[in-house]
């Protein structure tokens, strides 16, 4: 859908990437200063790469060799900025239709904008502003949607309020989305493809489940945020104990609270630091979730930690243990062991549709 191969030098910083983004949500992840915003600005035409090529579908937006550089108004790129950038002198309605009124009724409906139409941007909350900004971008019928940290300026409750709208958008429109973020739980919930940028280069990329469960990603994401994402199905509920049972290819998991409908598919993120490894099936302990797994990779980091890749059924999990434990347990690729996941390790922000 989107091919972006660009080079740009800005003072000390250099961006040099070659990314193929398929349909769905492609998350661009990286620390601040890794080149994420430069990259999306190049797609939107707000900054000009030194060289390279940007193609969306059949349309060439930029090609230094053929001297093509479409100006931003002709690119049909919907851009949702971190700071919303609503026009302060226009009502919400006029903001929405500034670039067009493509599929207006549907956009207003999926984003819940009806009650906001006659209000002014100054009176909206942060979450409402981002919904309006998203609606405004969608109504100009974009070939691609760019979202540059749209939730970064919001607090946790506002994020929780707006994420379901994004999930709905992802599932109901065919527009490919480039989603820039530095928040792993957002990426885990929304993305289908993940590209991790590090100092202007692509460090790793691929389907989100595969990338997040790869031990090599741990130092890039930070040891506290790394963790695999698996797709599960809601299999049952235990009302007495207030637990929900999730089924996936590697077994079943019990999670606290009641969420989802029976049979619904849910993505959950299991932080690597909350996975405990055991050589024998443990007995007499409080953790509810014990899964038989096979070690696929053991990767020592720079610090005291070791990232361990695990296969559970057809899914990949990721654990992080200390180097000392790894040595004492003699962890090795191919070994059959047990992964213990505390039911409370997965927070509500890590569960998505």
């Amino acid at each position: 859908m989107l091919r972006i191969c660009v080079q740009k030098t800005q003072g000390q910083f250099g961006l040099d990437v070659d990314i193929n983004a398929p349909a769905g949500v492609t998350a661009i992840f990286g620390r601040s200063g890794s080149g994420k915003t430069t990259l999306v600005n190049a797609i939107a035409g707000l900054s000009r790469p030194d060289s390279g090529k940007i193609v969306v579908g059949e349309t060439v937006l930029f090609d230094s060799a053929a001297r093509v550089n479409l100006p931003p108004p002709l690119r049909r790129v919907g851009y949702v900025f971190q700071d919303a950038r609503l026009f302060p002198h226009m009502s919400v309605r006029r903001n929405l239709t500034y670039g067009g009124d493509h599929d207006a009724a549907h956009v207003i409906d999926i984003l819940g904008l009806e009650p906001l139409l006659d209000r002014r941007p100054a009176g909206l909350s942060g979450g409402e502003r981002q919904r309006v900004a998203l609606g405004r971008a969608l109504m100009c019928d974009p070939q691609i949607l760019l979202m540059d940290e749209p939730l970064a300026a919001l607090d946790a409750p506002r994020k929780a309020e707006i994420l379901p709208y994004f999930e709905r958008l992802r599932d109901e429109t065919r527009v490919p989305i480039i989603y820039v973020s530095h928040d792993v739980s957002e990426v885990a919930r929304l993305a289908t493809t993940l590209v991790v940028l590090d100092e202007g280069k692509v460090a790793i990329s691929g389907p989100v489940g595969q990338v997040l469960s790869s031990p090599e990603v741990v130092p890039l994401l930070g040891t506290r945020t790394a963790g695999a994402v698996i797709v599960t199905r809601v299999a049952g509920r235990f009302l007495d104990d207030d637990l929900t049972e999730l089924q996936f290819s590697g077994g079943r998991l019990l999670m606290p609270g009641q969420f989802g409908e029976i049979g619904q598919s849910l993505r959950i993120r299991i932080p690597a630091q909350d996975v405990i490894l055991a050589r024998e099936a443990p007995t007499g302990m409080s953790a509810l979730n014990v899964l038989p797994v096979t070690i696929t990779e053991v990767r020592p980091g720079r610090g005291p930690g070791v990232a361990v890749g695990l296969r559970a059924g057809d899914d990949q999990l990721l654990a992080r243990v200390t180097r000392r434990s790894a040595g004492r347990m003699e962890l090795a690729v191919g070994q059959q062991i047990y992964a213990i996941i505390k039911a409370t390790a997965v927070g509500p922000e890590d569960i998505g549709g």
């Binding site: 939107a44 950038r85 302060p88 002198h89 670039g99």
Partner: protein, 231 residues
Amino acid sequence: MMDLLGPSGWAAIMLSLRVAVVAMICALPLAIGAAYLLARKRFFGRQLLNGIVHLPLVLPPVVTGYLLLVTFGKQGPIGSFLEQVFGISLGFRWTGAALAAAVMAFPLMVRAIRLGIEAVDPGLEDAAATLGASRTRVFMTVTLPLILPSILAGAVLGFAKALGEFGATITFVAAIPGQTQTIPSAIYGLLQVPGSEPAVLGLVTVAIILAMGALLISEWLSHRMARRVGR
């Protein structure tokens, strides 16, 4: 009051208003253009343009008036061209007074409008561009409405400056009653004549009323506009 001012006093007031309004209206689009270039564009000769715009502010008004006289007067290169091609004569006419007032008011207008443009987030213009708006549409629908309060401030400042302009005007077009004698030059002229204090007092009062009126109107308008742009 009518008697106090006398016919020549009234002529000076009406002339001053006409000169100031025409000067302000003609200078405004140019001032917006210059302010936009200086605030947003980086080009070769930007500092030179900035210097030329500000020159009337720092030069002695007599020098500006003299320069106008040698360029726009009957013998001047631009003045004779305008006269021959368009039949427009500026020397010793009220049009010349308007030109002098516009030149002197220009830097003040540019400064006020430039401040307003610099306060507009260029990110809003980028956002409008990604939504498919051409540069012209971005300017007309986003930039211009957001800088209207500062354009208004610049216009009022320019009007007040044009109303009070003295040095460059009297140097360029002298002070011919009914032709080029504005309020300041009428007051100055009257002060040379013994026993004309009542007429001076009348003109001074009118000058104060006009200035205060312009200020109050602009305050009221900018208040309304500021509410409209959601600040």
